[in-house]
Amino acid sequence: MTPIDGDSAALLPAPFREWFSARGWTPRSHQLELLRRTGEGRSALLIAPTGAGKTLAGFLPSLTDLAGRLKPKPGEPRRGVHTLYISPLKALAVDIQRNLTQPVDEMGLDIRMETRTGDTPAHKRQRQKHVPPDILLTTPEQLALLIASADAERFFAGLKYVVLDELHSLVTSKRGHLLSLGLARLRRLAPGLVGIGLSATVAEPDALRRWLVDQTQTAAMADIVTVAGGAKPEITILETEERVPWSGHSARYAIPAVYEAIRRHKTTLLFVNTRSQAELLFRELWHINEDNLPIALHHGSLDVAQRRRVEKAMETNSLRAIVATSTLDLGIDWGDVDLVVHVGAPKGASRLAQRIGRSNHRMDEPSRAILVPANRFEVMECRAALEANYLGAQDTPPLGDGALDVLAQHVLGRACAGPFDEAEFFDEVRSAAAYSGLDAATFSRVVEFVATGGYALKTYERYARIRRMKDGRWRISHPRIAQQYRLNVGTIVEAPMLNVRLTRQRGGAMRGGMVLGKVEEYFLETLAPGDTFMFSGRTLRFEGIRENECFVTSAAGQDAMVPSYAGGKFPLSTYLAGEVRAMLGDPERWRALPEQVADWLRIQKEKSVLPRRQDLLVETFPRASRHYMVAYPFEGRLAHQTLGMLLTRRLERAGARPLGFVATDYSLAIWGLEDMGGMIRRGVLSLAQLFDEDMLGDDLEAWLADSWLLKRTFRNCAVISGLVEKRHPGQEKTGRQVTVSADLIYDVLRAHEPDHILLQATWRDAATGLLDIARLGEMLSRTRGRIMHKDLERISPLAVPAMLEIGREPVPGGASESLLGEAADSLIEEAMGGA
């Protein structure tokens, strides 16, 4: 430990120096560096791994400033909020308050701290408005509400610091867009405001630095303070005598080895990518849990009370292992985790680093992690992620442009706070990093949308929500509009979910029973009474749906028939995909792979070919009475699914009579009745044309018209932009009814005003979201002129994983009309006695 030098002595007031030394601590250099820079009035980004004392560093500028503050003079108007802390999680705000209270109390500082979240009772929120605390800890949604209130100006006039925690996780989502606009507003309300961003390591720190400051000056950036990583984590890939499966995501083969690892450690955190994987892993572990180790399950669909119980048990170190999805990704402290096991490939190098960071919260000791690939491609992906970790490579997603539906919400919020001038407000919006590229015409269309829906047919002028007054400024037309706004604020639109209730009676009256949690409606839609599935660590039998609840009975001891529901699946990151392709094309690197996987690649090389890093391999072969085409773009499941939809349309036109396709993270398999390999040989079918980028034009347009993917995206945009109202507990409008009406609106809008701004917003969202068109486009342009075709007599080793997925999931596409036809025809068949 180095003694405090003169500089820092000047920076830190006496009570702080005494507090540090009383505990035998020395302020860390990054804490002082941040203090120095913000002290000069500059905003700063602190990038640090977990356990580096990030929170205290983020609050030191504000705490020291508050400590030096003079007592208010008699008659002085009440002070507003001094520091605003914003976190992505309610629980994190509460946790931070607890952690800060200790040093503040020990130093005897007169600082009032309060949290404000969706759970804060109305009377307390009211009081906070009148008597603001010095430090307010809150969420992006609450900030939006605060700046939309008529007294926002007074409330924030004295604001000096805003601390943004876990910034890396916020900025890439619509919540981040809303926060970015809120921050721009705060800078206007409190000139001189200092922003402090706290973030894990990211691929492009400069993007975050811009995000923190006013972008009126192009590419202005906040200062940056970086804390070097502590000890390198010890990561290993699970080695086992067992055969690594060709496909699938269960990693069943590794369960005994994972159990052994749990036994050898104090507390193990097991991460998986989907809820169904979590359920499966949890059940399999308990199957062999001969020592009755306390192993728990934690994921977002479980009942809140159940999750809280698990979290409590974690805090008191009374669990040996916990199986979790991304719900545990963010920074709450979880006691003494000494091992992280990642089951299934991590899909992204940065995600892996952040998850490993959940173990061993002391910077100077290495974290321990074991990666458990679920299939052979995942072995390569785990290897790539491991190497990336040692290289310090990052693949957090780029920030992207701010969404227009979020902007619409913000415009209405701005009007609720008071009248605004369009040009001035436009400048403010463009000062937010996410919206710095916005043009005036689009902004005007968004304002029009907020006013009257922005339709070409101008029939709603008299119902306008905001109106332009004589002085040219916009204001809300009725106080009711502000009430509506307050009920609909936020960017998180929950998929319609149903409660899962466990009853005793099979097929009997559906009522009563314990609530196990919530499941997405679209999953339940595919179930028939009697089907079994896994949830909350049990095998359940689906009995039926009544009102907004799904009733199930216990099916203990049975195997679940319906394998999965893939809540929260991440696509493979571009970086890892590139690394896996590089590994595939370079036999030198196979030495790092387990023998059975290296063998698999050697045989592939013999029987077919291995593509080089920049190439796209396409294989064709017959099997049974079908002909197959398998492509290996490695661009993730979403992009492959879109590609599959488009290729089958093109193959249909080319006369290849395709029947279906299946997409994995790594490859795409299409099957049909015609010999596609032969068609290519004869020159009837051109792969260059088939994979031409122009598929992203008309074909995409035609397919999308009726795609549920776009409808789901539209529904979110409609809710966020305020076109349809959000549902609220106890209201008659359930989420399911919103789905219906948003779909209807979508159809009407598409038919009558296809250029409407909300359809444009939907399209932009889908391109980067569920359809991943951006990534597909990059792949198509990268592989132009680099498509290798291999016409084979039989299936290749590399094709096996995708081929094994065939039949596991329903074939997407296919008109729903034909299903109706089948259902109606089966009736005729029944009548004719199957003749």
Binding site: F449, G453, E525, R736, P810, E817, G821
Partner: protein, 237 residues
């Protein structure tokens, strides 16, 4: 199944019987009674968009135009002597008064030269402002009785609307949901014809007691034909 030939082309429609009366389920969601040259549509919910806009939700203002266009097409196809609008013709009591002039003229043109019956509904308890036609609570034609809300218990020959029936089937892991005519041969509940109207599953409690369960068939509306699906194949919600 039968082929109905009309001026609008050849459309496969489904012929059914309600209380012994022959009727044709049109894929548009209208019901045609050839014996009486009577066309029935239900729950048009005209001016629903503007009704929401008044309260601050700016739904697209194209619903009235879209509904009238489809109504014009089905009228053109069957050339009925009389039309029954089975209640909730307008989304609210002021709807007819709010309707833009161009739409009013379009509607008047459809009404010209034929009998027109407005049946009162819960959304439109008063006659539509400034529009001709007969305003009635119920209408009896032969052994059939037309009213907006289905009555409780058995009601042989009742044709009603109000509930916006829809049905859902699951095949090969995929779920298909459509608006439908729901009938057990004794009574029939019409699908909503309006272009911004949602559906309520026929297995919902709201339909309890209306049909003999074993005889229930949902005539689901496809893009170009109607699909009769027996009760046993239907799924809730």
């Amino acid at each position: 199944m039968t082929i109905v030939e009309g001026m609008g082309g050849v459309l496969p429609a489904v012929e059914i019987a309600v209380a012994g009366e022959g009727a044709v389920c049109d894929p548009s969601g209208a019901l045609y009674l050839p014996a009486d040259r009577l066309l029935v549509v239900s729950d048009l919910h005209l001016e629903k968009g503007s009704s929401y806009a008044r309260r601050g939700s700016m739904l697209p203002p194209y619903d009235t135009a879209a509904t009238l266009k489809r109504l014009a097409a089905v009228i053109d196809r069957h050339r009925p002597a009389a039309v029954v609008s089975l209640g909730d013709s307008f989304h609210d009591a002021g709807g007819a008064g709010r309707m833009p002039e161009a739409f009013r003229e379009r509607l008047l043109a459809l009404m010209a030269g034929r009998q027109w019956y407005w049946i009162s509904g819960n959304h439109d308890p008063l006659p539509p402002e400034g529009l001709p036609g007969h305003w009635v609570e119920e209408l009896a034609v032969g052994s059939l009785i037309f009213r907006h809300e289905p009555s409780q218990g058995e009601a042989e020959g009742e044709i009603a609307g109000h509930l916006h029936p829809g049905a859902r089937i699951v095949r090969r892991g995929r779920s298909v949901r459509r608006a439908c005519f729901a009938s057990d041969g004794a009574r029939l509940v019409m699908p909503a014809f309006g272009s911004l109207t949602g559906t309520l599953n026929v297995l919902d409690r709201a339909f309890a007691g209306l049909f003999r369960r074993e005889a229930l068939t949902a005539y689901m509306l496809g893009a170009e034909r109607v699909y009769p699906i027996t009760g046993a194949m239907l799924r809730p919600a």
